[in-house]
Symmetry: C2
Subunit: 180 residues, 2 copies
Amino acid sequence: MVEAAMECFHERGFNGTGIQDIARTAGVPKGSVYNHFDSKEALAAEVMDRYAVSRKMEMLRDETLAPVPRIRAHFEYLAADLERFSFERGCMFGNFGMELSNQSAMIRGKVDTGLRLWTSAVTEVLEEARAEGALATALTPDQLGRFLVNAWGGAVLRAKVAGSRAPVDGFFEVFDSLVA
Amino acid sequence: MVEAAMECFHERGFNGTGIQDIARTAGVPKGSVYNHFDSKEALAAEVMDRYAVSRKMEMLRDETLAPVPRIRAHFEYLAADLERFSFERGCMFGNFGMELSNQSAMIRGKVDTGLRLWTSAVTEVLEEARAEGALATALTPDQLGRFLVNAWGGAVLRAKVAGSRAPVDGFFEVFDSLVA
């Protein structure tokens, strides 16, 4: 049921999805959704937890790769995931962050926490890179980590609007210029 | 009525806003909204046109400022506009792009066109900067223009989720490092 909800929310947004849509996608009666979740918001919170796990933050701690290629591999993983849906669904953090920040303190908190954890993980790898002398830019790992995560979010949004991979490719071009 | 709709859509999103909300904000009866607009989507399209004008793209053609300070002044204008609502409303291009790209081809087209025009305008000023030798980075004006506009969108999203100016400040730090 959480999978079905994720699919609906991801494609149509929170306010664009009815409990009936989720029940239909899951192949269960509408009432059984409410047997498991108090509200659509509670279900969305569960979806966010599951989505966060699917982002594979642990890739950023894979020390078999050097720091910069490791960060790049993580963004490439995310890009491949977006490409499954022709970049048309975007990222759930961005989608829910945009749509629900003013509507649900719970969802906003989950998005904020997810983005903070991700930013920290990226920044730590950038600190490794700097320690190894593998970071050319004068920006600090902290400045760069925050910027990369936010710039990624913007590229994903643009890819969604354009229905094209080009903005994500543009992100990698600047990544290679800034980080490598 | 378009102003009232913009306020509602900006704060609560498209799907989170009812025609009744717009009528109440405008201080008119619900029926009179439908007298002027065939659908909520048609009203949203009108809102997007008005919002695009309020972005003051013409600032990018103000030749009394040198190219790099001119681009910075434009982003500062946008930041000040976001700050009026404590960064909590975000940018309508981003909001509608996220929420409606899969729901309305008309709105998606307006967002896509708006972002393309803005990107072109920024890129043209970056080309001026390059011609004057005022652009340090090895990136092309085209790469940089596309990246800056997308990174801005991501920073605005993050500011909305965090309810804080910090991501926008981070954008300016990297702007100064990349562009100046």
